[in-house]
Amino acid sequence: MAAEERLLVSKFLRDRPDDSWSFSVAREHNDAYGSLEKAFSMTPEQIVEEVITSGLRGKGGAGFGTGQKWSFLPKAVFPRYLAVNGDEGEPCTFKDHMLVERDPHQLIEGIVITSYAIQAHHAFVYLRGEFALGAERLGQAIADAYANGFLGRDILGSGFDLEVVLHRGAGCYIAGDETGLLSSLEGERAMPRIKPPFPAVQGLYAAPTIVNNVETLSTVPHIVRNGGAWHAEMGVNRSKGTRIFSVSGHVVRPGNYEVELGATFRELIYGIAGGIPDGRALKFFIPGGASAPWLVEEHLDAPLDMDYVQSDLKTMLGSGAIMVFDETVDPLLVAWRLAKFFAHESCGKCTPCREGSGWLEKILYRMAHGYGRAEDLDLILSFGNNVAPGLSWPPGMTTICQLGPSIMSAPVSLKRFWYDEIVERMRKDTERRAALEVIPA
């Protein structure tokens, strides 16, 4: 358990826990906006190159190369837009909540550099509606940045203009999908759109648009400051740099921990987060948000490496949410609660997801509450195969966005680790109900 936190994006808010969000403090103690001069001395293409060299990958969930995404913009098509994804809704992810509330100037600095790199003059920060304090602080931070010449016309004499608009969401998970976010930003229901065309080609108002996560953009100033090669030295294989992991559930010290990629789950859960309280045993953990298939004890020594977790463990690091459940937890109850979440948040556009999430919630409810039937798990996997064909990872798609196949991650995990146990329990529940002469549900 040698790994320690490696603070990069979250360093300043740790150094100054009480006032890191204030403009004067961030300027004085963190050299906020200090990388802008260097950025403006480079050409936009050089910044894109530097970010590609850095190996930075999106930290919102999909893990797509940030510089690659920027380079997909069609040449000479303007206007272009930057949309900042701060809709953090993936269950048990709370890193962007922290970054927006406690270091908004780092984010704005990243927005300025990124907008310059992609030649956008209008950026929208789509912030989750529930983040009221975050909206207040980011709104103040944007006003301070305007007042001090870091936003607006001719920033630092560079000739570059940028307007930044803070846009509050209003309570909706699917606005965190990049195309759902764009729909919402256009004043519609946050329904995802079919890709292609990808947002980089036709996004907001059908113009080329880059959608990047808050943590991703907060990393950009560090790359400009220190160089892409410096960033690429951290991490492991194709997972470069650091990521903030939100560890919660049954751990002694739940919280956000920024570690260099390549550390292990064990170091994170048992080392940094303090392990499970009272020495209880681990039942299972979910490595990348509610959409990720689950892992158990035997996977604890696997590295935090996006590609390894995908190819060998058949799950994902996703949004960096690690939920830990001890031996007292009933996996069926957690699976039901996640199904309830997806049923609530399914936007209703695609039939497999809209219907499948509701069916799944109903069946898992009865299974978790003593009304299950022996054939229920097979029933779920049977119709689930129409939502996420193949029931493997990465999942097949029958829906426009990833929410659809995500509903099957928990049931697939139930099958993987506890199939016989669950079928036996359902059989016993059925017998018990018969003995009590209770009418089966």
Binding site: G89, H122, R128, E130, G187, E188, P254, V329, V334
Partner: protein, 181 residues
Amino acid sequence: MPFSDANLRLARDIIARYPQKKSAMLPLLHLAQDQDGWLTPAAMEEVARLLDLTPAQVLGTASFYTIFKREPVGKLVVSVCTNVSCLVNGGPDLLTGLRHRYAADGDVLVEEVECIAHCDHAPAYQVNYEFHGPSTADEASDLVERYKSGRFTARTLSGTPVAAVAWHASGEPGPDGGEPS
């Protein structure tokens, strides 16, 4: 209710921030809820007029989002998370306790919500979008009472600080020289 004169001016400023008017939908709905405490049909009709849309289009968008309340809900919304980290840390008990406590109180709406990204404080909840937790039902009730009595100042039902609403209504610029956002 229709927008006050001050809010109508703010609404026009908000619309001007966007390349296309319709993008101002969510901000204007938040503004209406700040003003009235819920989203009245009259407010949605006015938003439709301001954005050159039909009231049905506004209702269609508004009804998709959980923060917008399309009926009066009192003065305080207590949002209790029961998603998985809160589920295994007492969220359901907190929800049940608060629901019993405020079942007959027209000023307080207790609602079950999905993950509010405060999982390191499980069981987590919000009072008018101010984060709190971890708490027992009794501790949370005490806190809600402090908001009710005015000892703590609650945000609006859309999560805006009341001070920002007051600056704007006064017609004076905010302390930062700009509009409250």
